[in-house]
Symmetry: C2
Subunit: 453 residues, 2 copies
């Protein structure tokens, strides 16, 4: 790993972008540890499952309808659908689909969904340029690593201000991943980051609407566009991360850009990626674990209330009191607690427009009380069921299912994939073929095989 620059050790923030570019361009596939490669493949498999599962969502129908108005060329696949669209439209649509269920992967340190902006880019470019499985896995891992390190550098102030960190930093990772596949040199890779960074966007205000999942799709599209233009010599800033009026200074009140390159090649942020057993924001998962457990000990007719003690972020993100749609239900700890208690799960099938109107669930959600405590970690909950007779049952979750301390296994992820794909793909053979190809991605000669079209 002799090519890794030592600038970060010297703390020279003036060279952050240049050093990141150098790191990304000199990290060969062989230098990536096997466990990171495995985690990369699991991330892609998980991404593909949630994308296929949401392929027929109304919002995806709208995007496909738009692509028809634009007479988009049939260049790349839409996962879980029969249509093909042009390269840039494809990454927008697939990237959007992947986040619709809020069921995708999460880098817990930054509440970031790393695959969303990167996977659609490497898969679509791989199909468009007839690249190998190894090439796209390489670009995927390096792209994720770049976006997550940028996220580390600006979290939490950037997120707290109101930016959706998945898209704002994802656009850089998409530009890196695309730039690697397009074989950009150092200068053009810097421009690619410049063009990407100036498109960085995504406000948390739109959470709870169709525009939230649009974010990773747009970041993917913007990052790919950046690389496609840089490839042609389209000039841009070469210091977009660290410049006075660049990304960090403008979008993050506090930041530490030394995190972007420090220990590059020795520590891997993608290895910290986690997968969701439940179809909502990760911050709700401990509460779901607890409610599912409490149901085994308590009959709802005896229940006075359930108290959930959580980190303040949990309530900030999911404090919606009376959700009106299934989608809004994902942003309601009250609905989520009630529905997971009553049904024993919180998969996509729980978050329906019917369920948020179900009288039994609505009644129970009025019994969910939330207490915030800064001492609680985001992956923890201290739950207490208080019964009519005054007795109470306490249940503590230290590591929610799906968190790094209690990760989903390969079998869990395959099970999740099949559950998501079963209603969409024509038969189980296609599902099995996709799983096999992703898990053996280094040996797939052409991404066209992967998509099978």
């Amino acid at each position: 790993m002799g090519n890794f620059s030592i600038t970060s050790i010297m703390g020279d923030e003036e060279l952050v972008t240049k050093e990141l570019v150098s790191n990304c361009l000199t990290t060969s596939f062989d230098q990536i540890p096997d466990e990171v490669k495995t985690h990369g493949k699991l991330s892609l498999l998980n991404w593909l499952g949630v994308t296929i599962g949401a392929a027929n969502d109304r919002s995806i129908d709208m995007l496909v309808d738009l692509s028809k108005e634009l007479q988009s060329a049939e260049q790349v696949s839409l996962y879980g659908r029969d249509e093909k669209v042009d390269l840039l439209m494809g990454v927008l649509i697939n990237g959007t689909a992947s986040h619709i269920f809020d069921y995708d992967d999460t880098h817990l340190d930054t509440i970031h969904h790393p695959s969303g902006p990167i996977a659609p880019v490497v898969l679509a470019l791989g199909e468009h340029l007839n690249l190998s499985g190894e090439e796209i896995l390489h670009a995927f891992i390096v792209g994720c690593e770049a976006e997550l390190r940028i996220a580390n550098a600006v979290y939490p102030s950037h997120y707290q201000l109101g930016w959706h960190i998945t898209s704002t930093t994802g656009v850089f990772g998409a530009a890196i991943a695309a730039g690697l596949l397009l074989e950009l040199d150092e200068e053009r890779m810097s421009w690619s980051l410049g063009i990407a960074g100036t498109q960085s966007s995504g406000l948390r205000e739109v959470f709870g609407t169709m525009t939230k999942p649009f974010h990773p799709g747009k970041a993917a599209q913007n990052g790919l566009l950046a690389a496609l233009l840089a490839k042609r010599g389209f000039t841009s800033s070469e210091q977009i991360l660290e410049a006075k009026r660049g990304f960090a200074n403008v979008l993050a009140p506090e930041h530490d850009l030394s995190k972007v390159n420090s220990n590059w090649g020795f520590e891997w942020e993608l290895a910290k990626n986690s997968f969701k057993p439940y179809a909502c924001g990760i911050v709700l998962h401990p509460s779901i674990d607890a409610c599912i457990h409490l149901k085994q000990e308590v009959d709802e007719k005896d229940l006075e209330y359930i108290e959930l003690k959580v980190n303040p972020y949990v309530l900030e993100l999911t404090g919606k009191q009376n959700p009106k749609t299934g989608l809004e239900g994902k942003f309601s700890i009250y609905f989520t607690g009630a529905v997971s208690f009553l049904t024993g799960d919180a998969s996509e099938k729980q978050y329906t427009d019917e369920n948020v109107k179900d009288p039994a669930i609505v009644e129970l959600q009025s019994k969910i009380r939330v207490v915030v405590d800064e001492m609680m970690k985001e992956e923890e909950v201290l739950a207490k069921a208080v019964l009519h007779d005054g007795t109470s049952i306490v249940y503590e979750v230290k590591h929610a299912k799906g968190s790094l301390g209690n990760p989903m296994t390969l079998e869990d992820i395959i099970h999740k994939f099949k559950g998501l794909a079963s209603d969409v793909l024509s038969n189980e053979t296609e599902s099995d073929r996709l799983i096999h190809n992703i898990l053996n991605l280094e040996r797939v000669e052409s991404v066209k095989e992967l998509t099978g079209r």
Copy 2:
């Protein structure tokens, strides 16, 4: 004008987005004063001239090359070129072309180039949907009004932080203009603004590269995309401007959202739009006026130095000491002062890669001294030529040519248009036809006539 809401008078910032939508949807073409309509047409004519003039720029070749890789459908015209591309690609390319020369219009209060993100949208949608000249002029004026009022609300803190206000607020105007032409109702127009606002982007760090002109093009494309999705029912925030994690709170450290709707229909920001006689940022224009004047009184062989006393912003924006390209020359008061003194003009023909290397110009630019003074307005300069013999000549510009106090006339703008178009369009007849059609836009039955294709 009885439909105009009075909410703004009550200062209720909770309803800013809703009120803006209502104002935009209820402002009929007949309610727009004639002088504003005229100013709208002059803005479009000026925009078309600078767009055609830059149509063969290398960066536009790159975008067109990309559209070929994407097999973009032949839906709308590229002004000054023979190719046609799809609707979304068309607004990106035309919008980018319009800002390449930095020769477009400027709303002086906010250093905003209002036509850039709006004109490409109304022209492309007009061509795509076969709309009338009156319809697109109406949408253009209301869209510009919306973006400029949002700009007023966040300027200067937003701009000072590092945002390129033309694109960050332009995306809203584009979404409004497109939404009007797509006949969105109130709810969908709100969503259009939500989808637009979450794509708001553009960092000043990229100034001096090809990515600066990319900004209005991308804002136009993002705003149009927002309206096309909202038209299909794609949901989003309905309070994107004022929400806690919405546009103003996240992107502007200080803001006054009451400016968005106050006196809507009575005061017109578009009427304050100005046009540039010179092919660089407006803040350089007073200095150019002064240098051109001083040349009439001073022979350069007698010149010790020229001192330019300017507003601090001028140096912040154009302080580049040794530009290496014609484009960089536009961000150098030193080069600009020297070349305008020596040649008597600062049109696109002055800002060439050859001129920045010309020894006579390079020598003279070392004699340009800049003094900043907060008391100076941005449209002013106090220039002093000091000669070898110790004598000095002072020349003061209070209102630069092209500013509101000294505006370009219709004849000036037609002359500018013809100068820009002459090298690009096949013959003068085509130029005359475009000028005639824009100046009589209300009577043009179909935008297809305008483009003549």
